[in-house]
């Protein structure tokens, strides 16, 4: 079943009361002196299954519905949210948002928004198999198949296995005083696995995940070799991996770590709210060379089928492809309506909110370094003693100082221009500007398969990241040997 994108539809009989209510909130906000207001309804429903040690004994489902209202009055922002609202509680929330804005005016950061033409759009999720139409039993059977394939690899070395499935449908409706009314639906499906292996007293673990903004067809196109079997093989091999060394080394990043680096080291720094608040190491460097010539960094929310993709952000602005760095030169940032107004540029649809109880804030979407021209073998050949890091897991950054950390699930020693012994999981740390300038070779391959959640200001948001293999002249490796 294919859903199609609709434009300028007439509201259905069911949707009209919601549209009337949200429009009424925006009209009342203006009557009460707001220069801008938006009212967002966020609804979601999800189903999850966890299969552990051969039993799918945990099933869950959930739903959420609520309203969030932002008001900008006398250049001061106020926000209020209410769960499971009706028209009375919605108007009470508006009263609250206005009183919050009036209180903010005590000493507010000058709030403003870019003027945008009103957009009227409805976006339906594009899926082949709506997961809400698939039985729980069928989902459980799929997980069993993935687990069994992995257990054949692990055999007697198994200590613990977990395979889980989650599907989620989100519907966000945005109405604002600029005449925008956008109603968008997205469906995401994701599976995670973790295998713990044991040999004597030694335990190791490996993880993998697959996720896309699609429906149950994700299961039909995901082969165990690319999901659970991959993680199982890694969990077994890590039992004989050596502890990683500590110190400064030339490193090669697998695309999954390239993605982490791009997200943590530069992505957060290029969020315009960090730039304007003094919380970015690249503040004031627009138009300057901040990375090696080889580096072009993009954040693109328009890529079909990617975890971080979307049509409209939570302010009703269309998503877009944003060039952050081009051949080493800082070209642009990710913007909200406010930061675009403050910097005198066009908004580029980067403001998303986790739920109705969260204000839209600037988030990355799909962030990556563009592929280069060298072969992976060339990257390796140039290193006498270094480390190839694989299996990106997580990272974080202090964007104001540009100090970041990335964690790799495994690594490989490089000796005399060749891949050598396998190493266990390890973190690396660096300084953003140093690392970007120390990228001296980029491979001609590309991968972006890191569906995950980014945490910022207490909100979690869907993001993806990736890139080619990259070589960094030196980085601090936090090993134990």
């Amino acid at each position: 079943m294919q859903w199609i994108l609709l434009s300028h539809p007439a509201p259905t009989e069911k949707e009209q009361p919601m549209k009337d209510l949200l429009q009424s909130i925006c009209d009342k906000a203006k009557q009460r002196g707001a220069s801008f207001a938006d009212a967002r309804v966020f609804e979601s429903e999800n189903t999850g299954i966890t299969r552990q040690d051969g039993r799918a004994d945990k099933l869950n489902s959930g739903s959420s519905r609520g309203l969030g209202i932002r008001v900008l009055k006398n250049a001061a922002w106020g926000f209020a949210s209410v769960s499971d609202f009706d028209s009375d509680s919605a108007i009470a929330a508006l009263d609250s948002a206005i009183s919050m804005a009036e209180a903010s005016a005590t000493r507010s950061e000058e709030g403003c928004v870019a003027e945008m033409p009103g957009i009227q759009r409805e976006v339906k999720a594009i899926v082949e198999i709506d997961p809400r139409t698939v039985s729980v039993e069928r989902k459980m059977a799929a997980l069993e198949g993935y687990e069994q394939a992995a257990l054949k690899v692990i055999g007697e070395k198994l200590a613990n296995s977990i395979v889980s499935y989650t599907d989620r449908a989100d519907r966000e409706t945005i109405c604002n005083t600029q005449g925008t009314y956008v109603r968008k639906e997205s469906i995401r499906t994701i599976m995670h696995c973790m295998f713990v292996t044991r040999e004597g007293n030694l335990l190791q673990k490996a993880r993998s995940r697959v996720g896309e903004p699609v429906g149950f067809e994700l299961i039909e196109k995901t082969k165990p070799e690319n999901f659970t079997v991959k993680a199982a093989n890694l969990a077994v091999s890590l039992l004989s991996a050596a502890p990683p060394p500590a110190g400064k080394f030339p490193v090669i990043f697998h695309p999954s770590i390239t993605g982490l680096l791009t997200h943590e080291a530069i992505g957060h720094n290029a969020e315009a709210d960090h730039i304007l608040s003094g919380g970015s190491i690249i503040e004031g460097k627009l138009g300057e060379k901040i990375a090696s010539d080889l580096v072009t960094i993009i954040d693109d929310s328009t890529i079909p089928g990617k975890w971080g993709s979307f049509d409209y952000d939570s302010e009703g602005t269309p998503g877009s492809r944003r060039v952050i760095v081009e051949k080493g030169v800082l070209k642009g940032y990710m913007h909200s309506l406010q930061t675009a107004a403050k910097m005198g540029v066009a908004p580029n649809g980067s403001a998303r909110a986790q739920s109705y109880a969260s204000r839209p804030i600037i988030r990355m979407s799909n962030t990556f370094i563009e592929r280069g021209a060298s072969s992976f073998d060339d990257l390796v050949k140039g290193i006498d003693l270094g480390i190839y890091l694989r299996g990106g897991e997580y990272g974080y950054v202090f964007s104001e100082r540009g100090q970041y950390t990335c964690h790799a699930g495994e690594a490989v020693m490089i000796r005399n221009g060749e891949l050598a012994e396998q190493l266990r999981d390890v973190s690396v740390a660096g300084m953003t500007l140093e690392t970007l300038n120390n990228i001296d070779m980029i491979s001609d391959d590309f991968e972006m398969n890191m569906p995950g959640m980014c945490g910022k200001d207490g909100q979690w948001m869907y993001v993806d990241n990736g890139g080619p293999h990259i070589r960094v002249k030196e980085l601090v490796v936090g090993g134990q040997a």
Binding site: R55, L59, D84, K205, S277, R424, Q480
Partner: protein
């Protein structure tokens, strides 16, 4: 607000529905609350926010298989629907023969004072704005070009927890908090730091100096340098030592041990840390941030000695893991899996933190960050988020881009001292401690 008895009725409706729809056991948690927040950026107010809402979560169990259903709606009809959904899922879930029972109601629950201060629920946004502006001004008084961000928030809520064996509990809870992050720039050199204050009752909330303290520390962080890679003692300050205690307590979760994915497996009764480490988990501290009279399943809370002079004395159990192991429930149950610690209290030592630093000839002082072990392997590979080089017993310069690595159990054995002084927040004792012979990786 929705009163406690209404929340109890909603929870009971969901529980009854789960049982009447075929679940063998059920428990339900319902909550409702209000929060006010002031969000700060660029030395001003970014936004003032008010949030009101609640939700229900139903857990139904059938032959040990579990189904959960959650929703934001708090009507009796929707509660019954949630109960029905949870029961349907539980009946589809595969059976788990290791499940024994949910907790039965206790005859007596402990009394813990100071968990809910109605005055926090009555605070106006102007009160939080006052705290915020005082701290911005306090930061600027220390450094006139400091860049301040952060926030102040207050929350008051009510909840009910009901299960099919007769547990029926209601409670209120409050907390107030403030945090400030200050950035100071001198050309391309950037110093930053973060400080906070938290409390359950207004008397314990003293945010007066948070902005000033964060700014003083941020200024000390200018001129950070890289260091060489080598082994040295590492001193963890009050904002970092918690990673050691949490690393012990968090990995003493019985579920991780029973599932064979924890490096603490098989360590009960063993000496796995030095003599100076004794840790109690105490949920009964009046006004404590993590205090509770019962755990998340409704089992009565009590203090638990987790480690005594380096010997692991207990894992943390809830109803499922205690039943599986055939031991007494320790009151650390959650409804979603895993154990929940409460106030983790270390035993203090004899030397002050100043004496510990003075007695360290060369080392690294971690102001913020920690040892955060991999919870399966116990390996540590962590960044030093904020640290100082120690030379001849003094903190001589801030450090950038350094990491620590090793195995957590080796590090525990190498802890040679815990301080006598500490930073205190309600229910939180945060001392300084020193780990000898740690591999520090630096960028120099």
């Amino acid at each position: 607000m929705i009163d406690n008895e209404t929340l109890r009725k909603i929870a009971q409706a969901a529980c009854d529905s789960a049982i009447s729809n075929g679940a063998e056991f059920a428990d339900v948690s319902v909550g409702y609350g209000k929060s006010l927040n002031v969000d700060l950026e660029s030395n001003a107010i970014k936004s003032c926010d008010s949030r009101t809402g609640g939700g229900i979560s139903v857990r139904a169990i059938y032959k040990g298989g579990t189904g959960w259903s959650s929703a934001d709606s708090l009507t009796l009809e929707d509660a019954a629907e949630a109960g029905k959904n949870a029961a349907s899922l539980a009946k589809l879930a595969e059976p788990d023969p290791d499940f024994i029972s949910l907790p039965k109601p206790a005859e007596v629950y402990p009394k813990v004072e100071g968990l809910a201060d109605p005055r926090i629920g009555d605070l106006d946004i102007k009160d939080l704005i006052r705290y915020s502006l005082e701290n911005i001004d306090g930061a600027l008084a220390v450094c006139s070009d400091a860049i301040v961000q952060g926030g102040f928030g207050a929350h008051y809520g009510s909840g009910a927890l009901v299960n099919s064996l007769g547990v029926s509990l209601v409670s209120n809870g409050s907390h107030i908090s403030g945090h400030i992050m200050t950035i100071v720039k001198r050309g391309g050199d950037v110093g930053s730091f973060y400080d906070f204050d938290i409390a359950r009752v207004l008397e314990d909330f003293d945010p007066t100096e948070v902005g000033a303290m964060a700014t003083k520390e941020a200024m000390k962080f200018l001129g950070a340098r890289k260091i060489e890679t080598r082994r040295m003692p590492v001193v963890l300050g009050p904002l970092a030592s918690g990673s050691v205690f949490d690393g012990i307590v968090g990995n003493a979760d019985a579920e991780g041990v029973q599932r064979k994915r924890s490096f603490m497996m098989g360590k009960l009764g063993e000496k796995i840390a030095s003599d100076v480490i004794t840790i109690t988990d105490n949920p009964l501290i009046n006004r404590g941030m993590s205090s509770r009279a019962w755990d998340y399943e409704g089992y009565p809370s009590k203090p638990l000695m987790i480690m005594e002079k380096g010997i692991l004395k207990s894992y943390l159990y809830g109803s499922y893991t205690a039943g599986k192991a055939g031991v007494e429930n320790t009151g650390h149950g959650t409804r979603g899996g895993g154990a929940a610690s409460s106030n983790v209290i270390p035993q203090l030592g004899q030397m002050t933190s100043e004496e510990i630093i003075r007695s360290t000839r060369e080392g690294l002082y971690i102001n913020m960050g920690g040892l955060n072990p991999n919870n399966t392997t116990g390996d540590v590979s962590s960044s030093v988020d904020f640290g100082y080089k120690i030379e001849d017993g003094e903190l001589v310069y801030p450090v950038m881009n350094a990491m620590v690595g090793g195995h957590f159990l080796d590090m525990l054995k190498n802890i040679d001292v815990v301080s006598s002084d500490y930073r205190e927040e309600p229910g939180m004792i945060m001392p300084t401690l020193r780990v000898q012979d740690v591999l520090v990786a630096g960028g120099k």
